[in-house]
Symmetry: C2
Subunit: 288 residues, 2 copies
Amino acid sequence: MSELRDDQWFTEVFDSHGSAFSLKISEKLLDVQSPYQHLEVYATETYGNLLVLDGCVMLTDRDNFLYHEMIAHPALFTHQDPKRVVIIGGGDCGTLKEVLRHPGVEHVTQIDIDEEVTKASERFFPALVASNQDPRAELLFADGVKWVDDAPDESIDLLIIDSTDPVGPAEGLFKTDFLKRCHRILKSGGVMVQQSESPLYHSGSIIRELRRDMQEAGFDSVATLPFPQPVYPSGWWSVTLAGKAIDVNAFREQAAASHDLPLEYYSVEAHRGALALPPFMRKAFAAK
Amino acid sequence: MSELRDDQWFTEVFDSHGSAFSLKISEKLLDVQSPYQHLEVYATETYGNLLVLDGCVMLTDRDNFLYHEMIAHPALFTHQDPKRVVIIGGGDCGTLKEVLRHPGVEHVTQIDIDEEVTKASERFFPALVASNQDPRAELLFADGVKWVDDAPDESIDLLIIDSTDPVGPAEGLFKTDFLKRCHRILKSGGVMVQQSESPLYHSGSIIRELRRDMQEAGFDSVATLPFPQPVYPSGWWSVTLAGKAIDVNAFREQAAASHDLPLEYYSVEAHRGALALPPFMRKAFAAK
């Protein structure tokens, strides 16, 4: 049993799951209270820089490639020809960077409520903002729910909900009502994707409910894809896709196999493997 | 930043990786010093019982299915007809249980140096020892390296190295010399599989070296399969297979797709997906 001294470790306790994850820190680089949340950035000993929002680990230099690749590429390779992409949240700009790797994408609007997150990313995570000057990128700092309300019917190909957990500022992004509004602004053949928490902790709760809510909101198909994410609760995370007049359990396999994007985790085989789902998740989703 | 009080949490610090994982505990159930290692068992709040050896988390009720299924079934579905199986280590008997699910297996010998581990499993992890009375199972408490030395040439179909980390009692199990001895006792078409640490932490070190050592020891093919494992360092783990006159990058897909074993994680798609390897691992293995 080792003691983790608070001046040497950042610890996130996952109270309801009885587990905690800690990273050894060498320096606190930022501590800001924005109108929306408490931002901290630390230099860690082995994970590069660490971004923390309201006490929750958001990302590190070392392992954010997993989350950012998996929230972007499965959805992009599922849609038949994604041109207009919208990211709700995602202020660190890592998802934006992945989306812009696809040459067919013509325009990406990122709407994060908190400009301080993007400012922190510009200062401390330069790799994530590397594509922010791309002429196809539009960065807005506004309420994503309101932005969706104001968007015209059937105007978007791909909608990415890159939010924090379904508490605090992001709570509204996990409600059926919001999902209905997302469905409205997607074109036929459109896809939405949302980060959907831990396969181990949430398969029988948040993920199952999100999948049902997506179906109730009018989506024709849903697919949950698990992937490893060391710094998130349980070290295992997921995204859930929903399709409007498209089956999100299939994807453009040939394109996913033949691209020359410099990816570290995503591959056509990883996509296929994730779609298959472990039996325990299938069981949890099928339960009443 | 939260304080983890030592009387309420079990924390394992991964010093060289600057990370730590903690489980909230409700009770200490066992504290024994065997001739080989320090055994502890805790009741946790959300992970069921927890087994700790020399301060390292070995398994919990809640998530051991991931490791035990992935060290057993990929290798069993790779070998063309595994009849004689040997497990080195594995004293908790969870791997043994998975192996015995395969009706074609005729005999399994488990050789763990430390009988106290099996005793602890019998008392605190009854699900893991549920198949110990199977007439095909033979439990020995002895030095696995010596057992391998004494075994006849080409007498084994499948050899499973279900060890602790490559320090302390298990150090000798990660040496080329031991791998050569394993190769000797495997029949032609034989497979060995070894737990091989974290894809994130060890792809460019322990895993790459193990793969090279296996090839130097005479194996004709190697394959590393990553899988999630929340309670191990980084929450992501791997096994590495090696084949003697067999390609371990292929497997009996039809059998793996049509079995009726009550598995929670392993599936034919999980096996295929794991074999594909994330690009960053492929790169790490290819590096000089």
